[in-house]
């Protein structure tokens, strides 16, 4: 047992798992005709637009999707390489 857990430090692996699943499933559901289609195409379009100007390292793109009630938000966090326009 980790010494930190004795002091009640909360693990975070479950929220990482939830976030990974939400992103992945939005993508995998893309052909089932729900709003996931929109989310998935938006994500691809936005990345394509940015990729026109800068090289994107796929590992430095962070996606976050959140569903609360009727509202779905998609956050795309792209780390730009040291400013060099192409």
């Amino acid at each position: 047992m980790n010494i930190l857990s004795l002091f009640g430090k909360r693990g975070e692996s479950a929220s990482v798992a939830k976030n990974r699943l939400q992103i992945l499933l939005a993508h995998e559901r893309a052909d089932d005709g729900s709003d996931a289609v929109l989310i998935s195409s938006l994500r691809e379009d936005i990345l394509a637009v940015v990729a026109k100007r800068v090289d994107i390292d796929p590992d430095s793109v962070r996606l976050e999707m959140d569903r609360s009630g009727d509202v779905t938000t998609l956050g795309i966090d792209i780390e730009l390489p040291a400013a060099k326009a192409s």
Binding site: S5, A14, K18, R20, L24, L25, E28, R29, D32, R67
Partner: protein
């Protein structure tokens, strides 16, 4: 969207039977345990119940229900007209209103035909109140045939990423490849989370029930805690709801069964009774 507010679909004439598929996509999450536990709990409530094993080639429901030595004919024999349904049904040793229709152990899954399965299910609808179909893992023929004629689905998931992902895939199939879906209806779905550990979910090391419900958008029918009683019950060939009614797993399954029957009761997570010593050292004893 995916939700569970659909109207029950009464497809067949002259019968009020409900056909339920227990499915998950991923193997080893507790489909067979759940099938046996729910079927027995329904039978204990006095309903006429038949559990069907669709896992042709890898049958196990007979073993979990303790009926393996009494299997003579199987689902494939019936589908091919080599035996009647009544010859193939195995009556439970404890409950005389609970029956098993075993899978074939020697054939492969292609031995089942769409028409054959349809006629078996239609005949069973005439004799039983509840028909519980234990789906094989995967998304191939056996799994799609098991869900094909269902009126409702119980989706079994562990609080773990690969299991949840596979459930999502199965939900897609339930909404596309079933008779109910093809007739323009929506398959009512229930989520059963198994092998749950409340303490680990609390500390954020395991997906919590709310997380899984959020991700899959399927209403919860029950949460079965990780319990040693499940293995003990399978050792002796008794569904956990018959082997030890006081076991937390049995309580969770009995509660889920009441919900399946339409009772509107809040979902609880039954816990192992802890001794004073256990309480003092909560979560630390290994």
């Amino acid at each position: 969207m995916r939700d569970g507010t659909e109207v029950k679909n009464g497809t067949d004439t002259m019968s009020n039977a409900t056909v339920v598929v227990v499915t998950s996509g991923k193997g080893g999450v507790g489909k067979t345990t759940t099938t046996a536990a729910i079927a027995s709990a329904l039978a204990k409530e006095g309903y006429q119940v038949c559990a069907i094993d669709f896992d042709v080639g890898l049958r196990n429901l007979d073993l979990i229900m303790g009926a393996e030595r009494r299997v003579v004919f199987d689902l494939v024999n019936v589908v091919r007209g080599e035996a009647s349904i009544k010859q193939a049904l195995v009556r439970d040793k404890k409950l005389n209103n609970l029956f098993l229709l075993p899978a074939s152990q020697t054939r492969d899954k292609d031995a089942l035909t769409e028409e054959g399965v349809a006629s078996v299910i239609n005949e069973l609808r005439m004799y039983f109140d509840w028909v519980i179909c234990d789906s094989p893992a995967g998304i191939e023929r056996g799994a799609t045939l098991a869900m094909r004629h269902a009126d409702e689905a119980i989706i079994v998931s562990n609080p773990e990423v690969s299991s949840v992902r596979d459930c999502d895939r199965i939900i897609g199939l339930l909404d596309a490849k079933t008779k109910v879906a093809e007739d323009g209806g929506r398959m009512p779905k229930h989520l059963m989370i198994t092998r749950y550990d409340t303490d680990r979910a609390k500390t954020g090391d395991m997906l919590a029930t709310d997380d899984v419900v959020d991700i899959l958008s399927v209403p919860l029918i029950g949460v079965v805690p990780e319990s040693k009683d499940v293995l003990k019950a399978s050792n002796v060939g008794l569904p956990v709801t018959l082997s030890d009614e006081n076991s937390p797993a049995a309580k969770a399954y009995m509660e889920a069964t009441r919900r399946l029957l339409g009772e509107n009761i809040p979902v609880t997570i039954p816990e192992e009774k802890k001794s004073l010593f256990g309480k003092l050292f909560k979560g630390r004893a290994a």
